[in-house]
């Protein structure tokens, strides 16, 4: 029994961990009240997927995918493709975070807060003002 | 080199003429003077009538006039097929468009109506759709024009843009759109089980395609759209509500385009899609016939209790349209020809009545029958026309209503349906009881109503069309084939449908 668990953990354990990280991230995005925390959780989520891809690319008898004279067989290198993909994914996540941060700045500028509850209250107030002020009474 | 005058292309032209007129009127709109709008309408109306009339000899000779314009959906063409049944309706619609146009001009000017651009544009659109309906060669082409008609009538119903109009408009849309969408679903089902949509005299659905309970369901899904437009009870209540519209619109709704489109839809579905055998086998025709009987009797009684002239006429329409439905559902060549001819007969009689009602309203601002005592003195010509049409509706010999009713009754007798015969005769008497009081009140001898002493009859633009329609309804009563050979066409249609069975 123990060996079974051990082999499972050795083989698939890392995937379980990334799954856990992903769930944490998603839960955080949904549950957190503070928009900054939501953004951080979003990053956690993205990192989880990056880990997932990197784990895919890993194999034990393999070296970094840079051509060397001593290693000629392709099977001795690890697969470079997931790394390449993840470079792109990192760039995308960087872009998303950047956009998110700048949006947060604007929200803070306009609402004076980045707590969701406060903002909802503010928004309700704005709607009421619009209804009364925007049109003739 | 295409022959642009070819017979096959003419139905397309007939549809396009009014479509173009409608587009022109809407686009030019307020930029042109009222005269130009009316001129466009008149020119289009005359062109359309000429095109439609030019098809009659070929149809009478039995020539097939088929045109596939282009593929409208995968596997089915946008097709026109000019057959005698469609020809009858097309002749009525195009003839009456000329007359209602003249009348509209008089009415709209006399009454100083607003929103005339939209009015004339929508009117032309309705006629485009009505002609399309007549010539449509398959279900989808038919449905397209049917829905266009539904939508194009809406602006006419809400013409006055007031609260009452809005409510009637909603009611109208609720009835017609719901039934139209169910019709759509039924067309899809029919197409998927039969693989064809072309109208065939005698129908194309067989028992193998639709087993019994489903056949009845699909039958009523399809017929629903038709009987809503035709105002068969209990689906009639949009029709009296739509009375808020201006009188020429009511005339159009009731006599020419909309309700007749409903009756025509019933005809196509019962006799050209399901066919007499299938309609009988699934009990659809029987149920529908009883609904029509019920409507004929009940609507007459309701009409008696209405004192608004237009409302009384509306319930009369409800009843008369059920004659057509009943005639179709009796499923004999005679009754079918009678039903088709009743489209003609009712159109000319009812339009006379409505035009007279409108002329009374514009000239004296009277709507209530009880206020019309002695009006015959001021408006003798109008009221004479009204009287002629009323007698016609009741089905007196030498009036056009007699020809159609006699045929329907002959059909009912040949099928051995005494109840239907009794209904038809009783309803003739009932029609007298609700229309004759108007005539009697108008020509009451010993009353001196100072209101009606002077002022003269209606304006010529209103008077001329209504006299023409009254005269036509008498001429057609004496010689049903006069002019356009409409009776022959109706009989041809009846024979076409039932010949394969005999």
């Amino acid at each position: 029994m123990m060996t079974l668990i051990n082999t499972f953990l050795a083989d698939k354990g890392i995937y379980m961990l990334t799954l856990l990280l992903l769930s944490l991230g998603v839960a955080g995005v949904i549950v957190c009240n503070n928009y900054m925390k939501k953004l951080i959780c979003m990053n956690v989520m993205q990192v989880a997927v990056i880990f997932f891809f990197l784990c895919l690319g890993q194999k034990s008898p393999g070296t970094i995918p840079v051509a060397m004279d001593t290693v000629v067989k392709a099977s001795d290198y690890i697969n470079p493709l997931p790394h390449g993909l993840m470079l792109t994914a990192i760039v995308v996540s960087l872009g998303t975070t950047g956009v998110g941060l700048s949006l947060l700045l604007r929200i803070r500028e306009k609402y004076g807060t980045i707590e969701e509850d406060d903002m909802l209250r503010r928004e309700e107030l704005m709607t009421r003002v619009e209804k009364n002020g925007g049109k003739r009474d | 080199m295409i022959n642009f005058m070819a017979l096959e292309l003419r139905p397309l032209y007939a549809v396009l003429v009014s479509l173009i007129a409608s587009g022109l009127i809407y686009v030019l709109g307020e930029h042109i003077r009222p005269n130009a709008r009316e001129a466009i309408t008149m020119v289009a109306a005359v062109c359309k009538a000429v095109i439609v009339y030019s098809l009659i000899p070929a149809v009478l000779a039995g020539t097939e006039i088929k045109l596939e314009v282009f593929k409208i959906v995968k596997g089915v063409s946008f097709a026109f097929n000019v057959d005698p049944a469609g020809m009858v309706f097309a002749c009525v619609a195009s003839t009456l468009w000329i007359l209602t146009s003249i009348y509209s001009i008089g009415y709209m000017r006399g009454h100083g109506e607003q929103n005339q651009t939209g009015y004339f544009a929508a009117f032309a659109m309705c006629l485009c759709a009505a002609t399309g309906l007549c010539f449509a060669g398959n279900l989808i082409t038919f449905f397209i024009f049917f829905e266009v008609l539904t939508v194009a009538t809406y602006p006419l119903v809400v013409h006055y843009r007031d609260a009452e109009g809005t409510v009637s408009g909603r009611k109208y849309l609720a009835y017609t759109l719901i039934s139209g969408q169910i019709f759509f679903a039924a067309i899809v089902i029919v197409y998927s089980v039969s693989g064809t949509m072309d109208f065939v005299p005698g129908g194309f659905i067989t028992k193998d395609m639709l087993p019994m309970p489903w056949a009845l369901v699909v039958f009523f899904m399809m017929i629903g759209a038709g009987i809503v437009k035709a105002g068969v009870m209990p689906l009639h209540s949009w029709l009296p509500a739509a009375m808020v519209a201006p009188t020429p619109v009511s005339a159009l709704l009731h006599a020419v385009a909309v309700v007749k489109a409903g009756a025509f839809c019933t005809l196509r579905v019962v006799l050209y899609v399901f066919g007499p055998e299938m309609a009988k086998a699934c009990y659809g025709a029987d149920i529908l016939a009883w609904m029509a009987v019920f409507t004929i009797i009940l609507s007459s009684f309701i009409a008696m209790r209405k004192y608004n002239l237009k409302a009384r006429l509306a319930f009369s329409t409800v009843g008369q349209l059920s004659y057509i439905v009943l005639g179709i559902c009796i499923l004999t060549p005679y009754s079918t020809a009678g039903a088709l001819y009743h489209i003609v007969a009712h159109a000319f009689m009812k339009i006379t009545l409505f035009m007279a009602a409108g002329a009374i309203f514009v000239t004296t601002h009277k709507k209530d029958i009880r206020e019309m005592v002695g009006i015959g003195k001021r408006m003798p010509v109008t009221m004479m026309a009204f009287t002629a049409a009323s007698i016609g509706i009741a089905g007196f010999p030498f009036f056009v209503g007699f020809v159609s009713k006699a045929n329907i009754i002959m059909g009912a007798v040949s099928m051995g349906k005494p109840v239907f015969v009794a209904t038809l005769i009783a309803s003739a008497l009932l029609a007298l009881t609700y229309l004759m009081p108007v005539v009697l009140v108008a020509f009451k001898k010993n009353v001196d109503n100072p209101e009606f002493d002077e002022g003269g009859d209606a304006a010529p633009a209103m008077l001329i069309p209504l006299v023409i329609t009254a005269v036509i309804s008498i001429i057609l009563g004496i010689a049903p084939n006069a002019g356009l050979h409409l009776f022959d066409l109706a009989v041809m249609a009846g024979n076409q449908i039932f010949t394969p069975l005999m």
């Binding site: 992903l22 979003m42 | 593929k71 995968k74 939508v151 679903a185 899809v188």
Partner: protein, 495 residues
């Protein structure tokens, strides 16, 4: 010249991409040069995509290997008849939006305007890229380009816009992450990222488990991006508060491209032999049906025309996914026809609202009383687009509904036909409410901001309106030609 024609698939995407990058720099040179370059590049894409459509129709599917890297190692663009048609529609919509957007720019701050143009060009790049690509990871990249530029465009619509953009960003990123995870699993199973190659390997069988897990991630991912019920939460506020100039593109096209991607995964990669295919279709069908009814019901309660249209999009996306759920070639063709038609209907309705807002500064339908007298052309499009949404012939909406219903009847899914009917009736309720406001309600005293004797609107507003009008009728009347072209591809993939 032959080089140019041979490279159309990539040029279509490169043109707006380059113009987006150049836009700000050129604005520094001359204040209108940047936006002009964007407009020209979008026109270029449009012309090229039309040429490409002709090539595909006559010569069959185009396979284009980017940089001549051998497939399946390099990125491949696959332009089959489906893509080619959609590319034309999307680039046309993009071009119209770019023209239209000029009227809503900030005249004082040219760099802000140029930035908005750059984002718009990027959005077009992303959309066209997602449509053309045949590589699952490349799809992700374009998906993110689309999303990021959409976040920015939505945030430009005032303070509400910023909040909606932020919320959309959070949800959108979850979708993107799920997508990445889904293709990660598929990649681990097959070792390839090329769609065609992946499909071949998966169809050898024995991968059902991994495919199922991947599908569990992919359905929410696409669901969120296309605003399929129940993943639509971000959509109404984002559509409502997006920057007015770009709104037609955001609302009309952005939701369709993920739907195309979903189709690719369901039908082109997984294929109909997938063991759980029927179950997935049923799930999709249930979601679509609920979405169609829910969206229409929500739209009925709104007064802001933008919100009405946004909720109606939830319903209309349901039509598209319903076609996928039915799955026969004819129903799929209906879906794609609806995708085309709806791009122009929804885009057109937003062109109308934009025009009314431009002229009178209002978006509340209660202010629209008899506006048709002042803006006949705009209201003409409004009516046609509304009728098309309801599905009245001969507009585009009727015919897509026809094919969907026909497909449903072919599969004996009677309930879908009933829902189609019900949904059109619900659409009729709120669209006729809108028409009533426009045509019947007493006119309110609106101050016009545009004075002209001859035209009701500036030419740059009239062009998109007329184009949408013609497109809606054109797609309706000539649907058979489009369906034939679509079926060239769809015949092979449906049930």
């Amino acid at each position: 010249m032959t080089n140019l024609i041979g490279n159309t698939p990539v040029l279509i995407i490169l043109l707006p991409l380059c113009s987006a990058l150049l836009c700000l720099a050129l604005t520094a040179v001359s204040k209108n040069l940047g936006s002009l370059v964007v407009k020209i590049s979008c026109l270029g894409s449009l012309v090229l995509s039309v040429i490409q459509l002709c090539m595909v129709v006559s010569g069959g599917t185009i396979h284009y290997a980017i940089g001549n890297y051998a497939v399946p190692y390099g990125i491949e663009f696959v332009i089959d008849s489906l893509n080619a048609v959609l590319l034309v529609a999307f680039s046309l919509m993009g071009f119209l939006t770019v023209i239209f957007a000029g009227n809503f720019s900030d005249n004082k701050n040219h760099f802000k305007t140029a930035g908005a143009y750059a984002e718009l060009a990027l959005l077009i790049t992303g959309i066209l890229g997602m449509t053309s690509t045949g590589d699952v990871f490349n799809l992700y990249v374009f998906l993110e380009i689309t999303s990021l530029s959409a976040y920015c465009l939505i945030s430009l619509g005032g303070s509400r816009g910023v909040v909606s953009a932020y919320r959309y960003m959070l949800v959108g990123t979850i979708a993107a992450t799920f997508y990445l995870l889904g293709i990660g699993i598929l990649y681990a199973t097959t070792g390839t990222l090329n769609m065609g190659d992946m499909s071949n390997i998966l169809n050898e069988g024995g991968h059902d488990g991994a495919m199922l897990v991947a599908m569990c991630f992919l359905i929410p991912a696409f669901g969120i991006k296309m605003a399929l019920f129940p993943f639509h939460g971000w959509q109404p506020s984002a559509y409502t508060h997006a920057e007015p100039g770009s709104r037609p593109l955001v609302t009309g096209v952005m939701g369709k491209v993920p739907a195309l991607a979903m189709f690719r995964f369901f039908y082109c990669i997984y294929g109909t032999d997938f063991r759980f295919f029927r179950i997935a279709l049923m799930l999709l069908g249930i979601l679509s049906v609920i979405g169609m009814i829910y969206g229409s019901l929500m739209a009925m309660g709104q007064n802001d025309i933008r919100k009405i249209l946004a909720y109606s999009s939830v319903a209309q996306i349901g039509y598209i996914s319903l076609g996928f759920a039915i799955g026969t070639p004819i129903a799929l063709a209906g879906s794609f026809l609806h995708m085309l038609g709806h791009a122009f209907m929804k885009g057109g309705l937003f062109f109308c609202t934009g025009a009314i807002r431009y002229k009178y500064g209002t978006v509340d339908i209660n202010d629209f009383g008899r506006i048709y007298k002042k803006m006949p052309l705009t209201c003409g499009l409004l009516v046609i687009a509304a009728l098309s949404m309801i599905g009245i012939p001969p507009t585009a909406g009727f015919f897509s509904k026809w094919y969907l219903a026909l497909g449903a009847a072919g599969q004996h899914e009677w309930i879908y036909i009933a829902v189609l009917v019900l949904s059109s009736l619900l659409n009729a309720v709120y669209f006729f409410r809108l028409i009533e406001k426009v045509f019947i309600r007493q006119s309110s005293d609106l101050k016009t901001r545009w004075e002209s004797e001859v035209l009701e609107l500036p030419v740059t507003l009239i062009i998109p309106i007329v184009a949408c009008f013609l497109a809606i009728l054109g797609i309706g009347l000539f649907n058979v030609k489009i369906i034939d072209v679509l079926l060239m591809t769809l015949e092979g993939v449906g049930l």
